[in-house]
Amino acid sequence: MTATLEAPTVRTGSEAAAKPQKKKSRLSKTFRGSAAILLFLAGWELAPRYLLDEGTKTFLPPLSEDLVALWELILNGQLADHLLASLGRSAAGFVLAVAVSVPLGLLIAWYRPLAEFLNPLLELARNTAALALLPVFTLLLGIGEVSKIALIVYACVWPVLLNTIAGVNTVDPLLVKAARSLGLSSPSLFRKVILPSAVPTIFTGIRMAAAYSILILIAAEMVGAKAGLGYLINNSQVNFQIQQMYAAIITVSVLGLAINAGFVALERRFSTWRVKEKA
């Protein structure tokens, strides 16, 4: 009790002093966080200009030239077309995968014998690289949209499914016991205890799936597509539009980062109680 009485005075004293310091350390933290990237970008700009021979420079132009190409792609509307084509595919695959694997995961986890029975198969499937199956999907579903979306669904299903099962299986048994001592029936136990406590773990799987949906898509678009960022990268290379190729690669990187950042923010919102409990 004495500790809680003392705490406020200590805190107000040090908080006032710590504020400007905190601001400064945050600034330097931002700088340190992006220093490596800035250095890398500087190297990308300067090395081709001053260090590389003409031949290599053709294949690795300075960053500024790539950014000019990117700007042109933005202005002539090509970038938006390819971006939308890619996002449409990955969103379709991602949404389908989540819609299937969350309920399926809950079902599998609820019937423990089923989970034990299926687990080796799930592990095998998860560890089979999705791209290894691209030829199979192409053979079975053709070279069009269906096989690409199916491949994304395949890649996204596993993290969501396995995290959903893990989320349900790692519910604190004491919470289940407490709820049972209140006479809760199995369906309400599931709805009011198991599901909410599994949500953060499930969401981690969903975030991983979102990242996979972009990663796999780009590769899938390099084969037999007529639009999309993967197509743009591959097509630019084939047509020797090297700056445009890098512009598309930069777009892919930024897109991946943005999607991940968005989901991290969402995830934090869904699981404040868990993040803080761990800390």
């Binding site: 809680t4 006479g183 809760l184």
Partner: protein
């Protein structure tokens, strides 16, 4: 007088292990019984039987003369590790046990506020468990168990994880709540001192297998003494229980 809780030759075995062996005990309505015993004496097993979370291998557990068939809202259980739902606020945790009942949303919130106030947590209604100290969490858990108005409160070493000052504070509060509400309380503890301070009676269990060794009546006389724990009557009771437990603890260790 009929007993609120009756154990009749209760035995509970797990495979080859006998956790409880032929325990018979009557607890009167409105009584405060503390239950002490070394680890492995089947204290928690006994509580699970009373809570309806387990069934006796033989013998009978009766509440109001009727055998216990499962968990129910006539009994509230308070666990050592609080067992609060971390995604629910203090208020929503207290409301948990009310949600299947007849109260509407506003009445539930009102009831929760009332019981958080009873345990001294007014102003913390919207805090999540991770924002509360251990003592506060246990207060929320107690409020949750009291809110649906069970006749019996079953407490499984609820204060074992708390520091000693918080512990004494919560013991005081629990006695006050017991006197105000007239609940029948079964309180499991490791601590002889806690048992003497809280219980009207203290039941002593033997180490494996758990048998009822003795039931000691506690009469501390005038409880208004500021330092009750140093009063001669308190010391004498504590010593008597210590003697009863001494051999058992050595056998268990």
């Amino acid at each position: 007088m009929t007993a609120k809780i009756s154990l009749r030759s209760v035995t509970k075995t797990f495979d080859t292990l006998t956790a409880l062996d032929d325990v018979s005990l009557d607890i009167e309505d409105g009584a405060f019984l503390a239950l002490v015993g070394p680890s492995g004496s089947g204290k928690s097993t006994l509580l699970d039987l009373l809570g309806g979370l387990a069934k006796p291998t033989s013998g009978e557990v009766l509440i109001d003369g009727k055998p216990v068939t499962g968990p129910g809202l006539d009994r509230g259980v308070v666990f050592q590790q609080y067992a609060l739902f971390p995604w629910r606020t203090a208020r929503a945790n207290v409301e948990f046990g009310l949600e299947g009942g007849t109260l509407n949303k506003r009445q539930r919130a009102e009831r929760a506020r009332e019981f958080l106030d009873l345990v001294g947590l007014s102003g913390f209604e919207e805090h999540l468990p991770h924002q509360l100290s251990g003592g506060m969490k246990q207060r929320v858990a107690i409020a949750r168990s009291l809110a649906y108005d069970p006749d019996v409160l079953l407490m499984d070493e609820p204060y074992a994880a708390l520091d000693s000052q918080t512990r004494e504070l919560l013991q005081e509060e629990l006695r006050r709540i017991w006197q105000r509400t007239g609940k029948t309380i079964v309180f499991i503890t490791h601590s002889i001192e806690e048992a003497v301070y809280l219980g009207q009676k203290v039941a002593v269990l033997t180490s494996r297998p758990g048998r009822l060794k003795d039931v000691v009546d506690i009469d501390l006389g005038d409880r208004s003494n500021d330092d009750l724990r140093s009063a001669p009557a308190f010391v004498a009771h504590r010593h008597r229980l210590w003697e009863l437990l001494h051999d058992e603890i050595r056998r268990a260790a």
